[in-house]
């Protein structure tokens, strides 16, 4: 997992509605993915950065650069987020 680069599929778009961030599918993905994803500030930052290929460490560093958080904790958050995205087939 460490050296893999991750990237979200182009068909998943970050949008804002009623003061919240959500992710919605378009195109082919709109037919297979019937949900929406709610993002908080942290996951929004990760999602935006996953528009280009990133490793787990890249993303953990982005978190530590933006928030007062331990690298290990940040990495843990990143891994959990990546797992969720993977489970829902949102990554390339």
């Amino acid at each position: 997992m460490e050296n893999n680069k991750y990237k979200v599929k182009d068909e998943y778009l970050l949008k804002e509605v009623a003061g919240e961030y959500i992710v919605v599918p378009v195109g082919k993905e709109a037919i297979s993915f019937q949900g929406i994803i709610n993002l908080n500030e942290t996951s929004k930052l990760l999602f935006e950065n996953l528009k280009e290929p990133k490793t787990i460490n890249d993303l953990a560093n982005i978190l530590t650069n933006n928030y007062e958080v331990d690298f290990e904790i940040a990495k843990n958050d990143v891994v959990n987020f990546i797992k969720t995205l993977e489970e829902n087939n949102i990554l390339e």
């Binding site: 778009l13 949008k15 509605v17 009623a18 919240e20 378009v26 709109a30 037919i31 929406i36």
Partner: protein, 267 residues
Amino acid sequence: MNKYLIANIIIGFSYRFNEYFKDNIETYLYEGDKEADHNIIVKYKKELEVPQEGEYRIFSKSLKGVKSLMTYDKDYKNIEVWIDEEAFTDLATAEYIYTGMIFLELAQRHGLLPLHGSAITYDDEVILFSAPSGTGKTTHAKMWHRLYPEHVLWLNDDKPLLSIEDNKVYVYGAPFSGKHKANTNRKIPLKSIVFLRQGVTDKVTKLKKDEALKHLMVNTLRPTEEKLWDNTLKQFDFILNNIPIYHLDASVSLNAAKAVKEAVYGK
């Protein structure tokens, strides 16, 4: 082919079965001079072939082949719905469902928001009861008819169309009104949306924005293109900020309607 004016969209529409449309679609007849925005023609054949050229979308397939499909040109101006007449036991319903689906997509492209529900008017304002199929929206709407007959008219019983115009939310009727053919060709201001769940308490709660948003998402036609998502989300934003949205734990007694009336009107 007749033209119909539905929610400000002119549709040329040619269909075969009267079951869902008779005593219903006539109020939408358009006899003016403007050209149709879209033409929808339903055609029947035994054994459909996948088109070799042009845009098309397959609606339904079986092991034997394609059961139904549509062909369309630029901007969906001319749409042909092809149905394999031997592949369905109930052709009238198949015709209604496919043409209804197409119409809703067209409505969405025209900036309207289809919301799954039963819309009634109470003193010329719309209350929209929304929930997945089978929950009991129609049952609940009928209670209002029973309790307040002089105040209540039935607007649309399947997918009423919402539109934001002049900073207000309006609801349009459409002839794709579900099993009960009960609807009116008018545009009326929206008063409130009530999301129902089958229950016993008749408790009515005002929903917070994030909860209301989830319900709206589940009960709307999901956009498949970015521009359509942007429109839909903008509409959700406006609705969430301007329309009171409630949740009802609905029993089958008339008390359910009374509970909602009290929440919405304070009496």
